[in-house]
């Protein structure tokens, strides 16, 4: 069952690449993804992911996503 995570990150060419590379590396199953400019600052994007993932791994995923240099905020929805 999909658990939603909201990410705010700098809008760079490689940003999506880094996030999806992390999901692949950790073996997290991605069900849905959406991306749009962040309304607060257009230099940033808001990415919403739906992951098929346990509670424990969701908490780990949050920590890993937050480690990405360009990511400034991660919220479990």
């Amino acid at each position: 069952m999909g658990r939603e995570v909201s990410i705010i990150a700098k809008n760079q060419i490689s940003t999506h690449y880094r996030i999806y590379s992390l999901l692949n590396r950790k073996g997290y199953e991605l069900e849905e993804a959406a991306s749009q400019p962040w309304e607060t600052d257009s230099d940033y994007i808001k990415i919403t992911l739906s992951l098929n993932i346990s509670d424990h791994l969701l908490m780990q995923a949050k920590k890993y996503l937050y480690k990405i240099i360009d990511v400034i905020e991660v919220e479990i929805l």
């Binding site: 060419i13 690449y17 908490m59 780990q60 920590k63 937050y66 480690k67 240099i69």
Partner: protein, 549 residues
Amino acid sequence: MMTGSQVLLETLKSLNIRNIFGYPGGAVLTIFDALYHDTDMEFILTRHEQGAAHAADAFGRVTGKPGVCIATSGPGGTNLVTGIMTAYMDSSPMIAITGQVPQSSRGLDNFQEVDIIGVTLPITKHSFTIERVEDIPTILKEAYYIATTGRPGPVVIDIPADVQLGTLETSLFKELLRKEVTPPPGKESSIESECIAKISELINRAEKPVIVAGAGVIKSRASRMMVRFAEDNSIPVVMSLLGLGSIPGEHSLSLGMGGIHGKVGAHVALKETDLVIALGVRFENRFTEDNPDFLRGVKIIHVDIDASELGKNMKTEIAVHGDAGDVLTKLLEVKQEIPERKEWLRRVEELKESREEESPSKKGHLTPKTIFNVLNSKTSDNTILCTDVGQHQMWTAQHYNFTSPTQLVTSGGAGSMGFGIPAALGVKAAIPHSQVISIVGDGGFQMTSQELTCLKEYNLPVTIIILNNSCLGMVKQLQDIHKEGRHMAVHLGTNPDFVALAKAHGINGIRVTDQEEFTQAVDESITGSETTVIECIVDINERVYTSTS
């Protein structure tokens, strides 16, 4: 007016970086042209980019500053990959600079074009593609900051050829250089005093506590504090492979390395403990022995600079996201009555006396124990031991008496064969007055032996000790345990003549088969001023003690 390449070198120098390891190529011509004209930067031409990356990694491990390596585009960059991964797995600060095709050619699959940023995404702390000359100073400074702060790690910087050739007014460069770098936003840790109070209370109530010290203690330069904390609280210390040296091996509270190839005493202490204080260690599977019951029922206080390590492999009673040194400082400030733990200390003394089974000596062969008895007697605090990967690496960890932190430079997380010789190169370049010894196996030696030439060319004398058992011993041992002794592709029956190979590189070489010969060879090498390769003949049946043996 400056070229982008000159801007690159001057920015590196402003960051106090004076050493680069690397290999030239078409996509870095302009950078190497700038190096040609530069009189301050020490450049070491390795004979393979992997050697450059391992050397830069080792440089970073012993200095705390990022080691820098440089390679051309395409295969130059991909040849760095193993070295970058090795640095990533062991949290070593590194900046790897790669050339790239001009931006106008991007994506056209031109000669030697590779998406090196994409290739290295999973094995870097961060990476940058520089698109404008004026971005070079800021990006270099950001890369330096990222590589060295929090949990250190490698950063890749990809520079297209047109950016290397582009120009920048010198006055603008100086202005950009003065600009402060804004660190990435809000990922700092904080340690609350309530948390420290809870930790102190748990420690006081524990009857058989153990400190598990990992690389984080050493990277945090917190070894002395940890030893004082252990002494004040009567707590023995078990170390991970990369934590070795955080407490001197002969200290009464040191139980040596834990894990699958650890000491008997460490293994037993972790079975008997009721509280583990884990400092800068990540509980990876070689330490937990892949055992789902590892520390079951034991309370764990886990301190790590990387929040993602907390709760990843072990359930914790208290998780502290913070620097080991900062936490120890606060714990040492807590004034309270500490239990004496006489019985536990008596038990620790017994456990220190536990010995792994030793193999009998055989004529014409040296045993690992003999080799390290000699090295222990002939070396000092000034010695830095590099290793390659295999049985010899574990024998080093088990038998060498580390007396200080940063005395061991080894590929722990990645286990990259070929690390040993270029690591020695990097360490000696970083600390020329140190005595550097590299322990390698006959397998790993052959992966990067070409770097022996650099030791000669750049006058960086080290001692290389090959433990030649004519096989890939660790894999053979695994085949004995898990594949009922079906040995496949592990016998190196036709090794080259390593002594002749050393001499072909212009280096002294000697083969030894007994303690007397080995002692003499070591004496001559460490007091001499040239690199020596000492080939020790070791019996093919020598095994590494494992906790499951």
